[in-house]
Every structure is written in C-alpha cells, then in structure tokens.
Symmetry: C2
Subunit: 442 residues, 2 copies
Amino acid sequence: MRAVLLAAGEGKRLRHYFKRPKPLIHLLGLPLIERNILTLRECGIKDFIIITGCYDSALRDCLGTGEKMGINIKYLYNPDWKLGNGLSAHTFHKEFKRDEKFILMMADHIIGSDVIKDFVAEAGNIKQNEILLAADRRLEGVYDLPECTKIKAENNYALELGKGLQEFNAVDCGLFIGTGALLDALSGSIAEGRYALTDAVNRLAGLNRVKLHFIDGPWVDVDDLASYKHAEKMLLQSLIPPKDGLVSKFINRKFSLVITKFLAQTGATPNQITFFSFLIAVASAICFATANPLCGGLLAQFSSIVDGVDGEMARLKFLKSNYGGIFDSILDRYADFLIIIGMTYAWYAATGNTTALLVGSAALTGMPMSMLFKEKFQAVTGKPFLPGYDGISRYLLANRDGRLFIIMLGGIFNLLPFTLILLAAVTHLQTLIRLYNARKLA
Amino acid sequence: MRAVLLAAGEGKRLRHYFKRPKPLIHLLGLPLIERNILTLRECGIKDFIIITGCYDSALRDCLGTGEKMGINIKYLYNPDWKLGNGLSAHTFHKEFKRDEKFILMMADHIIGSDVIKDFVAEAGNIKQNEILLAADRRLEGVYDLPECTKIKAENNYALELGKGLQEFNAVDCGLFIGTGALLDALSGSIAEGRYALTDAVNRLAGLNRVKLHFIDGPWVDVDDLASYKHAEKMLLQSLIPPKDGLVSKFINRKFSLVITKFLAQTGATPNQITFFSFLIAVASAICFATANPLCGGLLAQFSSIVDGVDGEMARLKFLKSNYGGIFDSILDRYADFLIIIGMTYAWYAATGNTTALLVGSAALTGMPMSMLFKEKFQAVTGKPFLPGYDGISRYLLANRDGRLFIIMLGGIFNLLPFTLILLAAVTHLQTLIRLYNARKLA
C-alpha cells in the first residue's frame, strides 16, 4: 500500500514561532512529516506520495528521494493549494492506479504508532466504493475540540461531517484509507467549487460509504503552539514501555523523559547513551571502592535513569536496532558486576572481614539472574516474562531498576554490608520464586 | 489428519528374545508403537486407528484410549491377520471418511521424527487418486537391503514394487499417505486373493499413482535382533543436537549417550537428571573448597556429561517441557557459580593472596556471560545464536562444556590460579568478540 501525505498548506499559526515550513518543524528531534513517514515505515509502507504546495522546494530539499530512510518518495505539486486541501488530495489522481487502496494522512497530525498500525490493518475490510476514516469518540479527551471536524456517526459509518456540526458523537483524526471512490468524490465536489477534503468526504457520507475506525490511542492536530506542546508531551508519555519495573515507573521515568526531551534535539545515538550510562556505573563503582558511598550510590541511580534514556531515544527517533538491545544488556551486566565488586572491596578493605567476600559473591551471582531467567523464559515459551508474573514478589525490587535503587539507598546511608546482604537475598529469592512459579507459567 | 498403524502381525523373529508382542517391545524405554504414536503426535496428529490382529487384547491393555498421551485411539480388529498385511490395512475401510487422506505406518518401523514431519507436510501435494510413499534411494546406506521391498522409480513415481525386484533404484520405508484410492486398490487385490499391502500398491503403481517422497534421514524396519540394535544406535545418535560445543560433541556425548541408554529403561525424568547433575556440581565445589582438586575437577566434568543426559532423555522419551529448559538453565548457572567460588576459596585459603579474590570475581562474572549473550541474541533477532557464529573463537572453549572441561584439567593438574585466570580471560574475551561480531550478525 502507498501513503499520500498532504503537506501543501501554509500553517500560518506556527510560522511565527519556528521560522520554517510547518511540515518541517522539528518535534523532539524530527520534522513532523518525517516522523509520520517513519511511523508508516514501521507499518511496512515503502512508497510515499507527498502533495506539496506552499513549500514545494523546501520539502524536496529536506526529504529528497527518501533513500536515506529506506523508502521511495514522489512529489506532486498543487499550484492551487490556497483553494483547499481537497484540491491537494485530488492531485493524487495523476498517480492513482485502478483499484488501489491508499493511506491518506495529514503531514501535521501526530498519531501514536500503534493507532496507525491498527488502522492500516483494517484496510482490507472496506469495499472499493468506500473509504475508511480514523475517528475518535472519546470526546472528553479530544484536544481542542472546537477546532476539530466533527462526525455524526451511526453503526461505524459517518452520516455527516463538519467543523460546525451541532449534533456529533466523534471527531475526524485526519487519517484515511482512500480508494477510487474518494478521488471521484473529490472531482465531484471540486466541480461544484467546493475545495475542502471534508466536502468530498461529506458526499460519500451521504451515500453511507464512509466507514469509521474508532481509535483508542493518542493523536493531535499540530496547529498552534499549545497543540505542539501537547504533541511533545503525548509522544514522551508513549515512550514508557509496559514492562517497566516499579522504581522505573514511579521514579526513573520522571527524570529520563526530561533527559530524552533534551537529548532528542542533539545527534546523540542510543548506543552512545548506553555507553555513557555504563561509564557512570564505572564511576559509581570507583566511588564505592574509594570509600565514597554517597557518590557511588547517587551515580548508580543516575546510571539507572540514563539506562532508560537509550530505549526512549531509540523509540522516539526510530533508531531501534537488534544490536542496540544486545549492547545494552551486556553493558548493564558489566555495570552491575563492577558496582558490586566496588562495594564488596570497600567493605572488605575497611574491615578485613571475610564475610564480606562471601556476601559479595552471593550478590555478584545474584545480579544477572533476573535477566537470565526472563530471557530463558522468553526463549522457551516464545512469550515475554511480564512484570505481573512476579505477583507480590515484584516488591522485592530484584529487577535492575530496583537493585540500583537499593544500591543508591545503601550508598546514601552508608550501609554497604546490609545492602549487599539485601541484594544477595532479594535476587536469589526472586529467582527461586520465579523457578517455582514457572512450573505453571511456562 | 488421522494415522493408521498396522500392528496385526506376529513378529516371530523377535518373539524369542522379548517375550512380548512385537509392537510392545521396549526400545530405549518405550514400546515401538508408542514411540511411533508420540512421534506422530509431535507432527500434530491427534487421532489414531490401530489395526490389531495377533495381539489384540495386549495392545488394547497397554495403550488404552490414548488419553494418557493426550490423543484418541480407536482399535480395528482383523481376525484374518495371518493372510497378509494388505487385509489388515483394508480393515480401515470401515472407518474411512470420503475424501480423507490418512497416514499409514507400520507399527514396527522406526523412522526419524524429522523424516516423518517432512513427509506429513507433503500430504497436501497428492491427488485424491494417488498415494504418497516414503522411499529411500540412498541404497548403500539402507539397513538389511535384501529384506526390503524394492522400488523401480521414475520421476518421483513408482513403476513397480517387490521384494525380489531385480532392477530397482529405491526401497519402500513402510510409511504412506493413503487415500480412497489405496482402499479401492486393496479391495481389488484382495478380491484376486492377493493379501499383501505391496500387491495393492503395485496395482496403483501400474496406473502411475504412487508418488514417492525421498527421505533424507534415518529409518529402520525392526524385524530381528540385529535391526533392533541398529534402531537403538540410530535413535541415540539422533539425540545429539546440532548446536553442541566442541567438548560436548567430541567427548561428552560419547559418555552421555551410554548413560541415557541405561537410564531410558528406568523411570528417571529429565528434571531429576538435571537436579542430579547440579548435585554433582555441588560435590565438585565442595571438593575444590576442601583442597581436593582432583575430585573437584573430575566431578565437574562428570556433572557436565550428566548435563547432556537430561536433554537427550527428554528428546528420547518425548518429555521435553518449557519448564525443563528453564530449570536446567538456572541450575547450570548456580552450579557454575558454586564451582568457581569453591576454587577461589581454595586458592585464597591456601595463600591469603588477595589476587585470588580479584581473579575469582572476574571468573565468577564471566561464567553467565555466554548464556546471557546467546539468549539475548535470540530474543532480539528471533533466531538462535549458532556455534558457527563464533568462528575461530569457539576454540576459546568459553561455552559451558568447554569451561567445565578447563576446570577438569585445572583440577587434575592442580593448577587452580592458572585455571581461574584462564576462565576469566576466555569468558570475557568471548563476550567482547561476540559483541563486536553482533554488529553485523544481529
């Protein structure tokens, strides 16, 4: 399936703040239109048609042939872009292939990638004389409702659309699966001198041919500074993975998202951030070994926070890689080992007590067990080991976020022996509990 | 698809040695027919028809309704089993459903499970007026060629079959996909007073309706003591997984297969064997810690050998489980940790040298890295990390079989410090090499 992106308009309201064409405004490190292209690429879309108007050459200069992104881009120029976005959408008729279904998306709408994936998957369920429109019926949650195009819907079909509609139960998210029927409707309404996309969609709605797909994720039409800020917030929130541990969820993400928001503007790569997190852990280990537990503890927790940033950045800027996942896992293990060795050394050097060595060994061997168990579980069962499987034992804080949090507290309160005993206890106890529970789960 | 197993004959030649009906003779812990049922179950077959004759009640008593194996068994009795196996096969016509395709297998043929899987997958490629026959054209490798039914084949079709055929280029493995055409041909040849299955197959071959599937794995018709021994050997060899490390492949398997052959006769479960292997490792750790390196080293290697037995036994007796895989992995890690701690303690207790602690920590942290890397690689790429990916670095012997072999040598020659340094070096070096190579592989 091909995707058609409407990027012909002027976008006056944001022009004042950003001094560049609206589709090229950077949102967390990526131009709006590039973010949409990369999201669609994740859905398997390789061929893009960009309809230009006001900023034709700027768009061509910025995005080129798409080769760098591993996709193909064709540009269609609509000289009469000022008349309305229906005329721009209609420009696609030059490229349209008989019986083709295509995605039609506004370049400046930001929509969660899961929402787009679900929507694209529905393309097969419409007839050639219908179109599919993404709609949101969670009206109380819609951002800037007065500005939205409203829909009067009945049984998954739109009856009427319009910005000024008095009676409505959903709004239009600006994302379509188009067919020849849409282009015909556009021809018809243009012939009547009505140039908005909504005019053509309304014609089809009158024939009961606008099927609706109700979305259940976030989206926003980036139109002014307030909606831009909202989109930023929405995207950052979407970076939190569902399998987060307790400390990660309630503490670390508050900080890591701030760092990610800052670093998104730079060229920092996820692997560089992974390595930086490792270096902080090395510094933490050195602090512990040199009898600086306060620094050691704080650095351990800082490393843990930065350890969340690499993944956030990878998702935010479409830089996820298999290698990144492996690199992160292996460096995390070494980071853990070094911190425990630093703490054990500090205890032993201060007291000469050989118990330190025994406890240190126990903590050292406990550190990799959580990951080992989870990866093995996934390898044999084919499904990820979810935090919920741990039940009440997730309060042991034996996952990495929890362990580094315990280490921070141990450093702050200068309680290294107790901390090492606790780490050894929770890690091995959690392994035993998981091994016991796995008899039913695996 | 349903499977029909022919188990009506007397099997005189083995009667003398085993004192029980031939289909119920135990081969490595399982009756011949049960092994075939369980192999077919792995191919997704749930419904079985067993054609009985000579040993009707013994078979019913042994296998029951199949509920224990999670399958359904129906029995069809052929009172005239003495006349020939074609008559037994024809008994299935009472149960046959129009247009059904079914697997027809001799209860006493042992065929590699991959061979059966590939064969069953071909069922869709024959027409309703054809049958599919598994054939072997690797004539020099066929066991007891004179006893086999020969096939004259041309372009994947059989022209003629017969035990005494002078001109032939393949042999019949006794495994069919049957259709209504087979039952019709059986009716025809029985009406002419010819009661062997081969008579009916020959009729179809004359009409060019016996399609051949040439197998590329092991099989044997268990007919006498020599072929029974051959089947035993063949099955044991098939238990060696392709991803074996060097020490495992060239040393450990020689011993583990002998243990498996012995334990197959008992009720020992794979998880019990896993736990036994762990206990041997604990004993090894204690020996090292109490300055008994020779015992420690030998026990470590023995534990490594037994660590291969659980998997062999699981595959041999169809006892593979997700939990078994997890249990084995976690216990292996604890076994490794304890042995390293035992060795480090021995070195430190004897010398008081703190270098021992540093080297011990390095070896301790290196032990889980191989598994961690491999599991993570599989989790992110979706494909297993194969031994070939290590290239020349597999000679570092940093996988578990190699590490325990190094430990054995270290124990025998009483070179604990050197062994620990070596273990630390090879495990971390291998991790670094893998991390470097993964940039391309992942």
